[in-house]
């Protein structure tokens, strides 16, 4: 399998802060890959280095075999990046922006058919001649995605593409991106919506504090960290959860408590301990593990 992206021992320091601590990561051609991690994990720094917006302190990055520093022109031609921030140029309309963006990559009027296809695919037909500053947030997001696609890059990186986007639009966006992936484009996605990564991506890398803490196929990660969640609504009335089951708590939010179970028999134990402490159970739900559990377990986060 040909490699679409290769990060080789990538380090990035900001003064004394080590933002990336030697990232080794490979994304295969045609993959739908997710890069997950809490804020400050180093995802954006990694993407900025990939895009050439930052230089690594050491290590190298290749896109479709082209080094992003020494062969940056070919690397950037192979890459379409959708930035996280809703940036736009207020002087131009959507179609003008797309034509300019294509032109920077050396693509002229012969590319207009593809621009029309992208506009249609992202449902931007009605707004094609509207000035960028007149668009809603969702429309601006679509225009940003369109801009990243105008030069038909084989690798597309979407940095939080659905942040602030309504459910219907999110669906449409994923349909379009999935279609691109089926056509052979490699997709790299960072998102806070872990269910999106779980549904769409075949492989996941989880980052925390500048390191990759997990890298595997999504189904393998779910299997490896297979566990069930017991969600309880308790009538605590100032009482404390017994120390014997404190270690199983994953999330607490006032009277709502989520326990992470290794075995189903732990349900009985938790209930009996709560009974002993005279804490009444008001509601109960048992869930299977999802990427969020894996993520929380690996990053050690507690909400």
């Amino acid at each position: 399998m040909k490699k679409a992206i290769v990060f080789n021992k990538v380090k990035k320091n900001f003064g004394k802060l080590e933002a990336l601590k030697g990232i080794d990561l490979t994304v295969d051609e045609g993959e739908f890959f997710a890069l997950l991690g809490p804020n400050g994990a180093g995802k954006s720094t990694l993407i900025n280095i990939l895009a050439g917006l930052m230089k690594p302190s050491s290590g190298s990055v290749k896109v479709m075999g082209h080094d992003v520093t020494s062969d940056y022109q070919n690397a950037r031609r192979s890459l379409g990046i959708v930035p996280q921030e809703l940036v736009f140029d207020p002087f131009f309309n959507v179609r003008e922006m797309l034509r300019f963006q294509a032109g920077y990559f050396g693509k002229g009027r012969e590319n207009d058919d593809w621009i029309d296809e992208v506009i249609e695919g992202l449902d931007l037909q009605d707004k094609a001649n509207t000035n960028m500053r007149m668009l809603s947030g969702g429309m601006k997001r679509r225009a940003l995605i369109a801009q990243a696609l105008v030069h038909k890059p084989p690798v597309i990186v979407l940095d939080e593409p659905t942040a602030g986007v309504d459910v219907e639009l999110r669906k449409k966006l994923w349909q379009f991106i999935k279609k691109l992936n089926q056509k052979g484009h490699t997709i790299v996605l960072t998102t806070h919506y872990l269910e999106e990564a779980e549904t769409l991506c075949s492989r996941v890398a989880m980052m925390d504090q500048g390191k990759v803490v997990a890298l595997d196929k999504t189904r393998n990660l779910l299997k490896r960290f297979s566990a069930k969640n017991l969600n309880l609504r308790l009538d605590l009335k100032g009482k404390k959860i017994p120390a014997s089951i404190q270690g199983l708590i994953q999330i607490t939010d006032q009277n709502f408590v989520t326990f992470l179970l290794k075995e189903i028999t732990e349900v009985e134990f938790i209930i009996s301990e709560l009974k002993k402490s005279k804490i009444a159970i008001l509601d109960m739900e048992l869930n299977n593990s999802d990427l969020e559990n894996v993520f929380l377990k690996l990053t050690g986060s507690k909400k």
């Binding site: 950037r76 930035p83 140029d89 920077y104 693509k107």
Partner: protein, 257 residues
């Protein structure tokens, strides 16, 4: 990238920069033309009988090339600097930084756009000025040469200011504390021979003086210093600033972290 792709990339960025100022033509062209015409009306009326300039050249005619060049220089600076600072503050500079456009293409596009805007504003002022006075044009190629190198010099300086600044107030400091004093103390409104010796010497350190003096020579065939010397000094300034700008762009200074 082949040559055709690189040419198209540069042309696209240049076209975008030209369209950017054209979309706000009242602010970028009409406003400086009106300002220059007001200077012309007021200064020529007030100072015509008080300031001694060249033999056989009346003060109003003397004033016009200086005003044209001053506006040309200020607008060439404003074009590249304002485009860059706006793109940086709004974040849309990434649309260029994510592309295969080289630092040289970037430089050329911003440089040419600045020269075009400067010369366009200057031409408009010239056409307006013809309504007031009959202006000779003895050496059109010298006029064109100084307009090009002057626009290029200030366009380049605008790129440096745009890259260095990351806030609008920093850019305003460039305008107010560098460009304005250098423009007004460059002999736009007087010949430096009318100044005391100390101020004459000081004026000779100002590159704007050489641009305006050489440009004026193109109209009247008279100048405070030899036009070839002015051209050499201005060209030397341009080469130094262009080298600094290219080094900044190549290293990604304040553009790529």
């Amino acid at each position: 990238m082949n040559f055709k792709d690189e040419f198209l990339g540069t042309w696209t960025l240049l076209k975008k920069e030209l369209l950017r100022f054209w979309r706000v033509v009242f602010q970028t062209v009409a406003a400086p033309v009106i300002t220059a015409v007001l200077y012309l009306l007021i200064f020529s009326h007030v100072l015509a009988n008080h300031v001694k300039v060249y033999e056989n050249v009346n003060y109003t005619a003397f004033l016009i090339p200086g005003l044209i060049m001053m506006s040309l220089l200020q607008n060439a600076f404003a074009n590249s600097s304002s485009s860059l600072i706006q793109s940086k503050v709004m974040g849309n500079i990434v649309f260029i930084l994510l592309t295969p456009i080289t630092y040289l293409q970037f430089f050329l596009a911003f440089l040419i756009a600045s020269i075009v805007r400067g010369i366009f504003v200057g031409t408009c002022i010239y056409l307006f000025a013809l309504l007031f006075v009959d202006l000779p044009m003895l050496h059109p190629w010298i006029i064109f040469g100084f307009a090009m190198i002057g626009g290029g010099l200030l366009g380049t300086f605008g790129i440096i200011a745009g890259i260095w600044s990351h806030r609008f107030d920093q850019m305003a400091a460039f305008q107010n504390f560098v460009i304005m004093p250098l423009s007004f103390l460059s002999g736009v409104f007087y010949s430096i021979h009318s100044l005391p010796p100390f101020w004459q010497k000081l004026s000779q350190l100002n590159p704007f003086f050489y641009m305006i003096d050489g440009f004026r020579y193109g109209f009247f065939g008279q100048s405070d210093v030899a036009p070839l010397l002015s051209l050499s000094i201005v060209t030397a300034f341009f080469i130094v600033l262009a080298a600094i700008t290219l080094a900044m762009l190549k290293s990604g200074y304040k553009l790529r972290g």
